[in-house]
Symmetry: C2
Amino acid sequence: MSTKTVLLTDAPAWETIQQAHQRIAPRIHRTPVLRSATLDVLTGAQLFFKCENLQKTGSFKIRGATNAIFSLSDAEAARGIVTHSSGNHAAAVSCAAAWRGVPAWIVMPKNAPVVKCKAVEAYGGRITFCEARVSARAEAAARIQAETGAVLIHPYDDDRIIAGQATAAKELLEDAGPLDAILSPVSGGGLLSGTALSAKHLQPDMQVYGCEPAQADDAYRSLQSGTLQSIDSSDTICDGLRASLAPRTFAILRELLNGVLLVSEEEIINAMVLIWERLKLITEPSSAIALAPLLRPGGAGSLFSPVRSPKIGIILSGGNVDLRSLPFR
Amino acid sequence: MSTKTVLLTDAPAWETIQQAHQRIAPRIHRTPVLRSATLDVLTGAQLFFKCENLQKTGSFKIRGATNAIFSLSDAEAARGIVTHSSGNHAAAVSCAAAWRGVPAWIVMPKNAPVVKCKAVEAYGGRITFCEARVSARAEAAARIQAETGAVLIHPYDDDRIIAGQATAAKELLEDAGPLDAILSPVSGGGLLSGTALSAKHLQPDMQVYGCEPAQADDAYRSLQSGTLQSIDSSDTICDGLRASLAPRTFAILRELLNGVLLVSEEEIINAMVLIWERLKLITEPSSAIALAPLLRPGGAGSLFSPVRSPKIGIILSGGNVDLRSLPFR
């Protein structure tokens, strides 16, 4: 993959994020921020969970998709939308396109969870399956774009998407007050770069970390090496975290991120069970990963040693799980 | 069981419910009211879910337990608390007693879910197991009371408990605005009678229904016959709905309730899966039951025929489920 140079000054400005929020607020849920005394004790922190699993379409992805699709002119929108996604962005684009009254063509890898495919169909999206390789997705989307003239809305390498996803952290900070740190999953980096933009604007001293499966560690390697790395396939349980950073998200994260924390599959499942048992929230593995690093020996103290009982925001990104194939029991 | 005469004028007054709310508000969560566009379509209604599964200790029971225990004088509280419960009231009393710094003795049926027993122990409650018969619980509690001098806090035949549980519907109406109806599970009737007191005070024309497993239909039979009926054992999947009405709750429900809706085990499981899949909320079967009647052919229209797309509040009472023995898959 080539590394185009993108300057941070090209990233969505705060005004752009505010406009995105105004555009999408009437259409999405303002999701609650929940707490758990038990998880606070277990991690030695004060945790604030931003519940995007309770968001429309079951994930934060509706924020970026709604912002992008309602940013289009009527003439652009009328051509329809095409995108590729492992699932949650696919459902979000299908839903937001239906709200706008235009068709949506969706490329999904053939190993996408059935529950996510069904959601796309329920919102009226038209699915084309492709090979599970990340590169196959973009190729299939480009073919459909050429055939239909539809507008491509990339799942994360798109400022309208990044600005939309940034509104989750904006709401979290508005509702929870100042935090010492935010932890968010990272895959293509749309949510994480949006989170970093909002967090560092509202509170420049805040630490922002991405959490990534050790089995799909391209973001970690990209930031370590300073060169955009890709990963073409992974069998991590986190079906939403199998994509790689893109030029736009890489540029923002290089500048703003404090680090990427790698998490094992076992740690992800343990965190997922704890969130289900204690917060009573259905969260997907790709979402539960953001709690996992705080459950290690030493808890939050091992990450944020100078701060006693730090205030940590955790973005629970989505809740689309196939209840009939759970990774525990 | 003898039917003592209790007049509705003996029931907790609105001022008592307000005082209960002031007493417990600093200690409990103000749980969110969530919506689902998909479930609205499926039921032909506008649904407002009051998420007591997200409450401290995982159920509404902490409301009544906190109100009762913090109503005691220091001298009374110092003697400790004794109660009997299939699980959620047990955890709530253990937790509220720990907050007050006094011991809690808990009688639980030996078939109570392991996850609920563990919760009691985690809060410091001291468990005595008894036979699964409802009558065995009160006998064991009376023995402990005689031995220890502890104060008995009955799980529902107690005005302090009823007033505490009434605060859930009070919050729901404050947050959702006027409703056409509220549906709530019914077991001993603490939650349902509290719900009816708040609902009918705030909006006298509102309909209030209890939802009860057909396999544990004592409340239905009591209200039909006008005489308090009991059920001594049931194997309904709703482990929280195996108790029978008591004189106080029966008197209130006779006066205020619009009806009891009986629900099959299959309907309960279907409703539970829908809530998990669509609302992304872990709810126990005893809680999911309150959605089930609206999923029948005709949806809400079959119950509330004159109203188009009625506004219906549903009290999701708790989320304490053993994730390793789910009733689906």
